[in-house]
Symmetry: D2
Subunit: 341 residues, 4 copies
């Protein structure tokens, strides 16, 4: 950590500040005195230093981290990819492509079972479906809640597909005991109390990126879970909020290679929520594969008897068949091209 | 609600869609057939209609709300300002200016009591202080938690100042029973499970705007609390995330008059968190008053024996004396100017 | 265009407004009277209607376009892809992948000729290089200007590669006469006087997206050029400004399929400027291909005798060889997968 | 400037890099060797160093400026406020409040003369009006151009009010010879060729902030003008682009005190363009005064015989009378409060 001090700080104040740093954080502090200003260099583990606290000091002009503020999620200290294995034999993070697919909301048994069958057949490794739904309006459908969870388990039993679904509250953790991957939604990415509790259990966590969170903040939220002892974190890029209105959010695909460099955690991409438009799911799913993603989360919905079923961002099972086919074909070509190096 | 249909939708599909709308939502649907496209106009209460659901339909090109999606927080249905009264006699929303001041974190008894005394003397009506702290890093100080809450209550007892502090978890609601105003922080603005539970209690809620949330989403979160029966919601603008890095966030002061027009709820401004710099607190506090805010939330910290105490965004008690004096003087002038109309 | 009127507007005012619209714009205006508000539907060509002017009227609550505000760039009126042919036989927009490569700035003859040779050998169809450089600081290198242009022409002569370079000023248009593609940089995307003049010449224009411009504004800038008679516009996505700091800008790859749907113009992607990091160029170039881009613009720089030559976002010629090989291989696989439909 | 080098860079490369820096820029380079990385500190004038060039070097991990990259606009080297005096006796930057008011577009002689009279009477010191209009659509009204300029001069003659109007093209500079303040619009803030030419004339320049430009970039654009010899630059905050849609842009009032600290240039605020809504002009104008602005630019439009004249963001002359009265009253109170210190 490099700390630039304000110009003309009296020498005693600098000494006092250095002593405080050394005593509080068990660090060595080097000093470099320039014409315009003095700079301190902190040597040792600065992870636990509060950058805000530093910049809050009277003598400090600005602070710059040289090391990342995360340890457990940091590739520097864990060069190998984290690979998460499931009883089904599926692995996430091992270089393969894992597709999670299913409806935004679980609606009824028939629907979820049918979709589960179809996405399984098309190659999905996980069934996704919302039981507890975070909705902007209190008047919107809030999900089937506990009943939805039961329906998901039923669909798992019927098809053998493991399930991934979103948790919204600490007190529900017990209820999610048998869920295969617990999803933390974008709005809860910095619900630190929830993250802490999820750090205490032994269960893969799918951590979606917050709507307006930086990649560093996102990895710090993974660090919250890992700091509690749970290392099974899967990151999921799902678009960030920008001024552009042509898409619901702006899918930040460069987050994939950026995270691959900074962290050893697997990262998947959700083109459905990011774009909000079914017609954009295929091109963005293909692009995610070419950017190096470990997986995709895709909304698939079906209610063929009802004329109103084709969601703005949901694919029909037939369209999903096509997208999955293309995505796996591109992945195969991609792997061949990359292994030629 | 105006629904623009896609070009060339067969007549039967339009009829089916209209019938579905009328049956599901108890609405009247008017049709306007143009050369390029057909438009439906929905008459009746559209608050509970899910805009996403509408735009997800095959036949729909786009949707436009004419009415706001909130009712209880809507000034149209509640023209008078909501005024929240406290046992101390203080009112928020009645045209007066209410200042909440205190440290970011409660650190110890001496600190909080001293700051409480000082801010009270300067004219603050509430003591603010963090007991449970949402921190980006799991390695940062997480607040004194329950102990911090006790210290705040102690400072209240010593000074008579009512207290406002942040809640981070549903299971803490009981613990916050005697807190005067419960704060929901920016990161929890869309923690809907928490909002729902806070809707069930009879306690003023200070709802901070999320870092990347629109004004409409913010009011919808207030609506969550109000839908549960708790109408005592105070909105707090605290800066939004933009590309600008000269300030921590960008204080959106236009949110104050915008909300005053859309809603009857009181709105206050937090210039400390918005700017992240002590030197910007005074000008932005004055600007907030001139923009019509009902109050201010200002960080004041003091630890005179320790050289490192002056926070980047915290004012010293002496500086706060000066800011409070100016702010009240400007408010007085402002009231005079506005009543001259 | 759908115009929602304010509640309780007197009937005479509505009639007056309708008459004004019909007379000024040669339109038919349909009226739909609801309980809460009245809605007008405009039938006819609304392209020339100024949305700002409409929403500026006293009686208007809000406006919604049903048609896009552009005509010449609109795929609806020009379903086939625009294909731009060059004397070299190269085509842009015909489904092939066109790579433009070269240094950020032309520095000297040796450099530009060497880079030109190398990128040609690797498969680039155009040599890019900056002669006039838009720089944030007046104290930064502003490019070799006219001399740089001559060096580019020299490199074209030596290698046969057509050239693309940026124009910054109307009075330079004559000087750019023999440039093969004239680039309009992100900062000049809404330099309307420049766009108008470029509309009068018969020369392909590469129009980069502005740092904070919507896709619609971007297409409107293309429409400026096309309205003058020059239909040879190539759009180039190069990242937008967001709060994220891990990359210089956020590459918005979803812009590629969005534009493909809205417009018939070719669209290419510049991963170098978007990410600002050489290590991200390869994954984002591959992702761009999989998203359906018509081409790529990639920075390649070389000065082997000088130790300091490897730019933050520039590839070495050797690395470019590798990226180009992968990119063309992925394109081939992609074409195979897409033609299987 | 602090340069953090990558870990494990060989000593010779560090030495080579240091030598290059010292030779190219006439600087002294201090070295600080830490456990994890080496840091270089540059002593001397680093204004002309290209940060991009530094971070482009192989050995560099990251760069941090300690000094601002601007000199002429920097308050450090010019502690006193720049005060711009006009023949009329009006001063901008001397602590007084200067209002510029008038229509968005000059439409005809009657209109501009009437508005000029009215705003003068209400206390405006300048008449603003657009002759050349930057419009998103080529099909929108582009302004009366040269004729508009003549009408403005006519209104000046009739009322004595000096005029401010926007330039869009280098070749128009001669035509703007007798304009009192030349405005550079938001879209041209980084039209560096235009800025350079405006640096060569002796005329006050009103430099609007670009829609997505940081405060530092904005000051750098002022530096472009000043580097050419023209020190008469007035900055104008007019809102930045964010995700919020309730206002056209987000007015960043904290830019006022931030600039006052960084630069000696005067800064004014345009609440009309920032908010896009007439009802928000008054509160934001008052807030701008309380934030310390040197002036306001307000849109006033009048065409009383025509029912459609009240612009979404334009005030009527009557409403402007009221706003000006309140604004001057608040300014008086503000000055009293601030001089009490």
């Amino acid at each position: 950590m490099i700390i630039v001090l304000k110009p003309n700080v009296p020498k005693e104040q600098i000494t006092l500040f250095k002593t405080t740093l050394e005593e509080n954080y068990n660090l060595t502090v080097n000093t470099w005195i320039g014409v315009e200003s003095t700079v301190l260099g902190l040597i040792g583990d600065t992870t636990s230093i509060d950058e805000d606290w530093i910049s809050a000091q009277d003598v400090v002009e600005s602070v710059k981290r040289v090391q990342e503020p995360y340890k457990k999620a940091n590739r520097k200290f864990h060069p190998d990819n984290t690979v998460i294995e499931f009883p089904s034999g599926v692995k996430i993070g091992d270089g393969s492509l894992c597709i999670m697919a299913g409806p935004c909301s679980v609606e009824n048994e028939e629907q979820i079972n049918y979709v589960a069958q179809r996405v399984k057949k098309a190659g999905a490794a996980f069934l996704r479906g919302g039981a507890f739904k975070p909705r902007t309006s209190p008047y919107s459908f809030q999900g089937l809640r506990a009943e939805g969870l039961d329906l998901l388990k039923g669909a798992r039993k019927a098809t053998g597909l493991p399930i991934v679904t979103e948790i919204m509250r600490v007190s529900h953790i017990d209820m999610f005991e048998s869920v295969d991957i617990i999803q933390v939604g974008a709005r809860n990415m910095q619900n630190f109390e929830l993250l802490k509790e999820l750090g205490k259990i032994d269960k893969p966590i799918l951590l979606k990126r917050g709507l307006a969170n930086t990649i560093e903040e996102w990895i710090m939220s993974a660090e919250y879970i890992m700091a509690g002892g749970n290392n099974k974190v899967i990151l999921c890029e799902r678009g960030i909020r920008t001024y552009e209105t042509a898409t619901r959010n702006t899918l930040d695909l460069s987050a994939v290679p950026v995270i691959k460099k900074l962290s050893h955690l697997p990262v998947i991409v959700d083109p459905s929520h990011a774009t909000g438009k079914a017609s954009l799911v295929e091109p963005m799913a293909l692009a995610a594969v070419a950017a190096g993603a470990d997986g995709l989360m895709i909304e698939v919905h079906n209610d063929p008897k009802h004329a109103l079923s084709d969601g703005a961002q949901s694919l029909t099972p037939d369209k999903f068949d096509e997208v999955a086919r293309k995505v796996f074909a591109l992945k195969k070509a991609y792997d061949g091209i990359m292994s030629d190096e």
